[in-house]
Symmetry: C2
Subunit: 234 residues, 2 copies
Amino acid sequence: MTPKTAHLVGILGGMGPAATADFYARLIRHTPARRDQDHLRVAVWADPTVPDRVHAVLNGTAEPYPALLDGASRLRDLGVTIAAMPCNTAHVFLPRLVAETGLRFVDMIEATVASVVTAGGAPRTAGLLGTRGVLHSRLYQDRLSAAGIRPVEPDADTQGSVDAAISATKRGDLGAAREFAVEAVRRMARDSVDAVVLACTELPLVLPRGNSDLPRLVDPADELAIAVVAHCRG
Amino acid sequence: MTPKTAHLVGILGGMGPAATADFYARLIRHTPARRDQDHLRVAVWADPTVPDRVHAVLNGTAEPYPALLDGASRLRDLGVTIAAMPCNTAHVFLPRLVAETGLRFVDMIEATVASVVTAGGAPRTAGLLGTRGVLHSRLYQDRLSAAGIRPVEPDADTQGSVDAAISATKRGDLGAAREFAVEAVRRMARDSVDAVVLACTELPLVLPRGNSDLPRLVDPADELAIAVVAHCRG
């Protein structure tokens, strides 16, 4: 058995489901492989019935936590060696989840900030587009500031576009979602930020790639997938 | 709890990994939902290290079976109420898997043949493109014949293109895979079949959709996803 196949990657997902499927696909794409047997073993626990994360964070409750704990415990009991949770907002609960399950996670926020810092152009400012929950939690702001990058938060109109893009993605209306998401990025770009962090896993699902018309987009789910593969190969 | 969220869908995957991620994405797309909480709970066990299914079927061994049994048992123990295995060739082992785990599966071959029979145009012939293992097993031929549809098997050159398409998909060379897959469909189309069943889950990953130039393509993974959602919605 190679060190790679000895790993069992756990994905604590369902928040939302499409972002989870997309994350799993990215994990596969980022794994150098010639045949099935070169790929990572993966277990996914996707419970989309986890109570609303944003509502909980904004109201200071831990309503989603029992479902997250249940999922993480199941992954641990399956023998998962490294876990990933492709939902930015749910990362508010990550420290407690790690402490109470002993399951090792790659932290998506950490992987993303590390990538923003090291990527070309040495950005000085980074715009943040995410749920009201993730912004309220300051998950990204504090870590970006600590890394010497000024975080730029969306204004009320931009946040409205972000919220509309996320809801449209979740109900499967990808055309509308794309329009709202592009609008949000354009509004954020007016502040001439060096990069825009798509701090909700629903946003990269609908944004066109490689649009030179937009600022540099950072996709935390992609950074998480790259970091998980690196961990398993490392 | 609605009847829908009470279900836990199990995906026994990894054969190959990209087909598994794609199947999960289809399951989500076929689920009518307005928000995360309307989606199905899903557990995936994806072990790409399962020994080669085609080799086993062609040589009459059960080499992949222990890994399949392990995965199915894990899904059952997680509380899975309905399972799906998005790999055609592995369906050779399905009856034994069901008998030995008691886990309920939606049979992908059955769902596909049912769709071929009921879909518009009342096809009389169906071309089969799949691994040498799935063809050798006669999984599709016998059920299509029983349903009054004449199965058409690929000739040696067509099978060569199919094999090349599958290998290229598994090593992530999607451009080459697409060329080989289109070539295989065109060769099969020379027999003027009414439909072509893409009887390997790697093939639909690379074939262009809605190409009116090609005969009607039937995608078993899509039929499986539709059947699983229908089962869960009662």
